[in-house]
Symmetry: C2
Subunit: 412 residues, 2 copies
């Protein structure tokens, strides 16, 4: 029989836009023996996790719980639960994950209308509001922080315009939750989807979501019709039941409520991990955490610019937790990444679609976002580029970053 070695993964410095390194406190939480899903101790842990999610999403919504799947499972759960076939869904696209929203919405039967912006930029919020006023969609779905381009979309006025035309506003905050402000209630976001493996620094495998009473009303209306479906002439209903059992928010909220109606078996160990990750976020404090991400971004950017490297994207909409760098002309970007991993144990990211071979992406997210890592990646990148004969300034990157840490400089 074939045998397989003991698990013994190398220790990496993970500076991608996710998944990122996990706090040892979270790893330790995952090593605890499990509880049954209806054990009163476990349901209490579920309730605490909901409480902490409300704080992290900055919301007073009743519903805030994880979907048991990776980040896109949260997006699909929200969209499949609220999109009725034929619903008009407006998706402003400014990077790869906008296209994912389109794909998911279309699979749910939506009539999708898109707005597109060149990658590396974002929309003026008024452009989006104007499109909402013009199209009067049932749902607006958009990405908050695009890891594909390192850009963050402002929301000024968009939530208000959605309320005006009675559209639901669904936001993919997978990359931003826990790293940059996501003010669910203040921005009038109706549903928000977060990711675990980015700024929350919990392993991939859960997707925390929150949604308000406007979303719930649409979900429950569909549920009512579903229950009556067999008694009704099939030609009559204009809405169909949610096309998924696993992602049906109506059933999921009954499981996460005091009713505890059995749905799936909650992923025990991932719940332990998420709870511990959220505790760490709240113990640090949200605003302090946002400031920390900005500080390390500043040091990283100062170092990269001191080397003479050029950043990609419009700096006025730069996402603090992802920094995109133009690969210098003539350089094999993959060879550089391979040397960073092989010689330095550092992972940085390549890129998607039209940017393939054009940029590298460095994440400064959650537990990975610290001075040791930023200095390590700057030193390693400088040495690797120099080794490859790239014409860069040497000896300056770490000095520039250290100056930021010492409070003596800010990036150009």
């Amino acid at each position: 029989m074939k045998t397989y070695k003991d698990l013994s993964p190398s220790l990496r410095t993970i500076m991608t836009p996710g998944p990122v390194e996990v706090d040892p406190r979270v790893l330790r939480a995952m090593s605890y023996p499990i509880l049954g899903q209806f054990d009163p101790e476990f349901t209490e842990l579920m309730n605490e996790t909901m409480d902490m999610l409300r704080d992290v999403f900055q919301t007073s919504n009743q519903w805030a719980f994880p979907i048991d799947g990776t980040s896109r499972s949260g997006i699909e759960a929200v969209l499949v639960s609220i999109i009725e076939p034929g619903d008009k869904v407006l998706v402003p696209i400014y990077g790869r994950f906008g296209h994912l929203l389109v794909e998911i919405a279309e699979r749910c039967g939506a009539a999708v209308v898109t707005l597109e912006k060149a990658w590396g930029t974002v929309f003026d919020p008024e452009e989006i509001s104007a499109a909402i006023g013009r199209e009067k969609p049932a749902i607006v779905a958009m990405v908050h922080g695009e890891t594909s381009t390192g850009c963050v979309q402002p929301f000024d006025g968009i939530g208000e315009e959605c309320r005006r035309v009675d559209a639901l506003l669904v936001v993919d905050a997978v990359a931003t939750i826990g790293g940059v402000p996501v003010r669910t209630d203040e921005w009038l976001l109706d549903a928000v989807i977060g990711g675990t493996q980015k700024c929350l620094s919990v392993p991939s495998g859960m997707s925390p979501i929150t949604y308000n009473a406007r979303v719930e009303a649409k979900v429950l209306r569909r549920k009512t019709i579903e229950r009556g479906l067999r008694d009704i002439d099939a030609a009559v209903p204009t809405v169909r039941p949610v096309a998924s059992n696993y992602f049906d928010l109506g059933q999921l909220q009954d499981y996460w409520s005091p009713k505890r109606l059995n749905h799936h078996t909650e992923a025990t160990t991932m719940l332990y991990a998420l709870r511990e990750g959220l505790r760490i976020v709240l113990q640090e404090g949200l605003e302090a955490r946002f400031q920390r991400h900005k500080k390390h971004e500043a040091a990283l950017v100062a170092g990269l610019q001191a080397m003479g490297l050029t950043l990609y994207g419009d700096p006025t909409c730069k996402l603090a937790v992802v920094t995109c760098i133009r690969i210098p002309a003539g350089v094999d970007g993959e060879a550089v990444r391979a040397m960073l991993l092989g010689s330095f144990g550092i992972e940085i990211a390549s890129s998607f679609g039209p940017l393939k071979g054009q940029i590298w992406r460095i994440g400064t997210m959650g537990f990975s976002c610290n001075q040791k890592n930023v200095l390590h990646v700057l030193g390693a990148l400088e040495a690797t580029l120099h080794w490859h004969g790239v014409d860069i300034s040497t000896g300056k990157a770490l000095q520039a970053a250290l100056a930021v840490y010492a409070g003596e400089a800010t990036p150009c």
Copy 2:
């Protein structure tokens, strides 16, 4: 600010039909720092997991990988990927999880035809084969082991009949995989869904599946049409693209293949856990593991019968890993369960739907299935029933179980 305590779950003896106790080796694997999803070390772990899944499913299928979600996510992934709206799906129901198959298939747009059998019994396989020949469904979906009733359905001839009418046979082996034989290739099963948190004794949160070339052909046919969809008059296509992105097996297999096309971010830590859980299963050996489950079942049953308790269900189709006990008349089943948990730290399960308040269910699955646990639950149940004034024989249960372990007795 509200504070939350350090995680410190009580140690439980979990004797439910899942989730069950997790081997400390698996828990330890979950405490390792993570790797990036495209790190060559991680993709190698993914490949090893696929290899081991093929062994556990007893198949030479190319495709065997986990869906990142709880068990029903694997069921939904298979069904949503192969059911075209209007497809006839035959579901033989003999317990609660047959109804789940119906619900999922209906949400996928299937025309579902059911056969029903009284709970506590299973079908004569010839009844199912006759229905397949009569109905000529596109798909037959059925449960292998029903945790709701503790019954196991034999498959003799069903796979052959499915091939004859060109139906795909999809089997929910969530409760059985790793505990009782699931011979995918020998039984001509086209797709099989396993669960992690039962006989594999890995925490809930992944669902390993396997499927053969017949299933793949149907999935890929839909993928082709999906790609051409925008160019085709919407009224023309008779098949629609898969209604889910997260569960689209066509995209998932591209991610799990050497192509490594980006889909989701694989759930790193759960993959570590599944890999370690599968290593443990294969190190024990499948047939030895099946025998172990039968041995502890025999001891448990001997002890329960020695107490004078009555088992629920037809003994000729009893599932080795779940034992259902009729709650004696006049006994508050929930009070007994609460005392088992509170005084003995033991969890046994209540029941679903028509059996609510009628039976208890005891699981002997995976890591939880051991002599220490069986003797602990028998002793605790005897003492608890006696404490509640139930008229049972005392002092006999442990003797009867010990006799089985000593090889001196088999249950009546």
